[in-house]
């Protein structure tokens, strides 16, 4: 059986769900951040697969932009984390409850 679009979409779906699970269940800020990266990568895989099978390269250009923005996002997020750690000495989600009512 030849590998078609569905196969890539299923891989992308599973990877996205793994990332979502990590964001919901893990409590370490860094691991949560890595899970977000997993979800972004899953979306990238789906876009590249659609682009290949629709014979249009626009999807790949989109992935190009997503990778760039993700790099910026990681830089800002990690800087926030360092600033938070400097104040609270913790990188744990449950210790960051300032905004909780």
């Amino acid at each position: 059986m030849s590998v078609g679009l569905e196969h890539y979409l299923v891989v992308s779906l599973l990877l996205f769900c793994l990332g979502l699970l990590g964001v919901i269940l893990r409590r370490n800020l860094l691991v949560v951040y890595m899970s977000i990266e997993l979800m972004l990568n899953a979306a990238n895989l789906a876009l590249v697969a659609f682009s290949r099978f629709n014979n249009r390269l626009d999807g790949q250009v989109m992935v190009f932009f997503i990778i760039t923005v993700a790099a910026a996002e990681v830089a800002v997020g990690l800087a926030l984390m360092v600033a938070l750690y400097r104040r609270r000495q913790s990188a744990h989600v449950e210790d960051l409850t300032t905004l909780k009512l």
């Binding site: 979502l20 890595m34 250009v61 830089a75 990690l78």
Partner: protein
């Protein structure tokens, strides 16, 4: 051959993704980061199988190289102790698993029902030349992706300034 490679890379991607999220042997963030690198590299393999050669190279250079080095730097900088096992609330665990399983069910059923791309053979080639033409060409009356390209460079600049501002010591 392509099928075998696809299954190898797909299984590797998903296994490493699982080990990033829930590693039974270690709860150290460094281990998670290393498995994320492996996951990204095998994703680049999938990109090559999809003939997206340029993106595969960018994926390895930018993600596995730059982004992961940044991650590791911050992990080392924070000097995290081995994460103590705090108890998960059972309600949160069950609710999270249910939500994710529900989402997976809906998306899987959608893929199964709509059967996208049935009988289509992949054709698009994503080498650097093709992508560059699409990004920068002026020929067909449309400016292509020149404006988004410039905007992205602006985003990078703003992010850089923001990072410097955020991570500066406040006493200065």
């Amino acid at each position: 051959m392509q099928e075998i490679l696809f299954y190898i890379f797909a299984v590797m991607t998903l296994a490493c993704g699982l080990l990033v999220v829930a590693n039974p042997f270690s709860r150290n963030p460094v281990t998670s980061a290393m498995f994320l690198v492996l996951c990204i590299v095998s994703l680049a393999g999938l990109f090559v199988l999809l003939h997206a050669f340029f993106l595969a190279a960018v994926q390895i250079l930018v993600y596995a190289g730059a982004v992961m080095v940044l991650f590791l730097f911050v992990i080392m900088l924070l000097d995290l102790k081995e994460e103590e096992r705090r108890k998960h609330k059972l309600v949160a665990l069950v609710a999270g698993l249910t939500a994710v399983a529900g989402l997976a069910g809906i998306l899987g059923r959608t893929i199964y029902a709509s059967a996208p791309g049935r009988g289509l053979a992949g054709q698009a080639e994503g080498g650097p030349v093709e992508l560059g033409r699409l990004l920068f060409n002026y020929q067909q009356g449309s400016p292509g992706f020149l404006l988004p390209f410039e905007m992205v460079s602006l985003v990078l600049l703003v992010a850089m300034i923001g990072v410097i501002l955020i991570s500066k010591k406040e006493s200065a």
